[in-house]
């Protein structure tokens, strides 16, 4: 009797689903095609129009600066975020409050004013205070500024991920004799990674885009080069168009890499859940 009902249930579902199912052209990822088409059109324009080609040649040295800055900022922010995230869930009163103050301060200030303040005031002043005046090159002030900002954003991701793991997991680890640190490392973190990795990957892309803000403190990355070239040549449309193309290409490349990475992570952990 039960089996009969189960069988009937199975028969019903696909019938209903089929009626609601979209045709292939309704569910196809057309947006990918649109983006590729836009990229190809832009690329061809740059390739075959001399003015655009000239703009390209002037901007392209900034790409390396952008990429290098992105990677440094991401790695430093990752470490800061992990430390501040762990700090926020720590038993240590000092660590907890310092971490919390850092995160709240950064999150309470718009990103552009904070870059000015950090790169032009706080970092030079701190380095002077420890007796190493002018020891931090300009590019590194900018990199550290954005890393400090994203460190606070990532701290929230780490904290949320850690706190999403049930308390019983920590208790089971501790009652087996694992120390707090061992429990965090072998029990909590591997599970939290599942919810931490996607938003961290998102921030990686956000950092790439936000390196453009570093143009305001004199880093010769893509945006600054574009503004210099356009101001001296008066070829504004060519320069801005080419800049946009370059950013789009970089972001698409990075998000593709990150998507593949995430897919691999999920496949490796398929057994868990």
């Amino acid at each position: 009797m039960q089996q009969l009902e189960a069988a009937r249930g199975r028969a019903h579902v696909p019938l209903k689903r089929r009626a609601e199912e979209e045709a292939w052209w309704q569910s196809a990822p057309w947006w990918v095609g649109i983006i590729v088409a836009v990229m190809v059109a832009m690329g061809l324009k740059i390739l075959f129009d001399e003015d655009y080609d000239l703009a390209w040649k002037n901007i392209i040295p900034g790409v390396w600066i952008t990429i290098r800055s992105t990677i440094y900022i991401f790695l430093i922010a990752l470490i800061l975020g992990l430390l501040a995230g762990l700090g926020q869930v720590s038993n240590n009163v000092v660590a907890r409050n310092v971490a919390r103050a850092y995160v709240e301060l950064v999150r309470g200030i718009p990103i552009l004013p904070l870059i000015f303040t950090l790169a032009l005031v706080i970092i030079p002043d701190v380095s002077a205070a420890v007796g190493a005046e002018n020891s931090v090159p300009n590019d590194w002030r900018a990199i550290l500024a954005l890393a400090l900002i994203y460190g606070a954003y990532m701290a929230e991701i780490f904290r949320g991920g850690i706190q999403s793991i049930a308390r019983g997991q920590t208790e089971a680890g501790r009652s087996l004799g694992l120390s707090r640190r061992q429990t965090m490392r072998s029990v909590v973190m591997p599970q939290a990674a599942r919810s931490i990795i996607p938003p961290i990957a998102n921030d990686f892309i956000a950092i790439l885009k936000d390196t453009s803000l570093l143009s305001v403190v004199g880093v010769l990355e893509i945006t600054r080069r574009t503004r210099q070239y356009s101001a001296s040549s008066f070829k504004f449309p060519e320069a801005f168009f080419t800049m946009t193309f370059i950013y789009l290409a970089l972001v698409l490349a990075l998000s593709t890499v990150l998507t593949l990475f995430e897919a691999r992570m999920t496949r490796d952990r398929a057994g868990e859940r």
Partner: protein
């Protein structure tokens, strides 16, 4: 000297909830003590104070002579000697059964991977699921998960095993398979403190039954005496409620 010694234990949460209000409990080596009492009377809190998952507000706790309230005592080492089995199993979902059982052996006992695996398989054999070593927890039934949790604790070679309602989250048909493992442990002389509503287990395995209510121990005695002839009114009322 007693294996577990609890004296004048108090635990207050948030300065207001007085969960345990002065408990004395001595458990000898090899003794099996079953703790019963109404929900919210402080059984879990008392148990969790024995391995310092909760820090007592007041009182003395020692395990095999090691004073847990002494700052010089390495709590992690003591916890490795005190196995704890939870109502909700708390297996590590990202690890296979084998890795669940070998993790603490390697990190705390510093055993080699090979030695830890040999021990893990031995304990899986003991709890009756030697074929599940490579499964993930979610692939197991509740009863199997709880048996893995027991194996995980046993692999540390504990002096004491604490059980907090180990069968309360299980479907009826799985309760027996877990209780059988616990009965066997009792028979080989493991020191056990068990919070449970399974009166059959208490009758069969307990040397002593402790009845708690409102944060204190109301009455304690051998199981047959407690069940057939409780002295305190509160104990009688509790049995009238739970026994058919």
């Amino acid at each position: 000297m007693n294996m577990i010694s609890v004296q004048g234990l108090h635990k207050t949460f948030n300065k207001t909830i007085h969960a345990v209000r002065g408990v004395d409990l001595e458990v000898a080596a090899g003794e099996v003590v079953v703790i019963i009492g109404p929900s919210g009377c402080g059984k879990s809190t008392m148990l969790r104070c024995i391995n310092l998952l909760e820090v007592p507000t007041e009182g003395e706790v020692s395990i095999d002579g090691a004073d847990l309230m002494d700052k010089g005592t390495d709590l992690d080492l003591v916890r490795a000697e005190v196995g704890m089995v939870f109502q909700s199993f708390n297996l590590f979902p990202h690890l296979t059964v084998l890795d669940n059982i070998t993790l603490a052996q390697k990190k705390v006992r510093k055993r080699s991977k090979e030695d830890a695996e040999v021990e893990a398989r031995k304990q899986l054999e003991r709890v009756g699921i030697p074929d599940k070593a490579d499964a993930y927890p979610r692939q197991l039934s509740g009863g199997q998960q709880q048996r893995v949790a027991i194996a995980r604790s046993l692999a540390m070679g504990p002096k004491v095993m604490l059980f907090d309602e180990p069968t309360s989250a299980l479907d009826p048909e799985m309760i027996k398979e877990v209780l059988d493992v616990m009965l066997e442990l009792a028979e080989i002389g493991m020191t056990m403190v068990v919070v449970t509503h399974e009166m059959g287990f208490a009758r069969a395995a307990a040397d002593r039954v402790v009845f708690m209510d409102e944060g204190v121990i109301v009455e304690t005695g051998p199981p047959d005496e407690m069940f057939s002839n409780p002295k305190e009114e509160r104990t009688k009322a509790f049995f009238d409620q739970i026994l058919p």
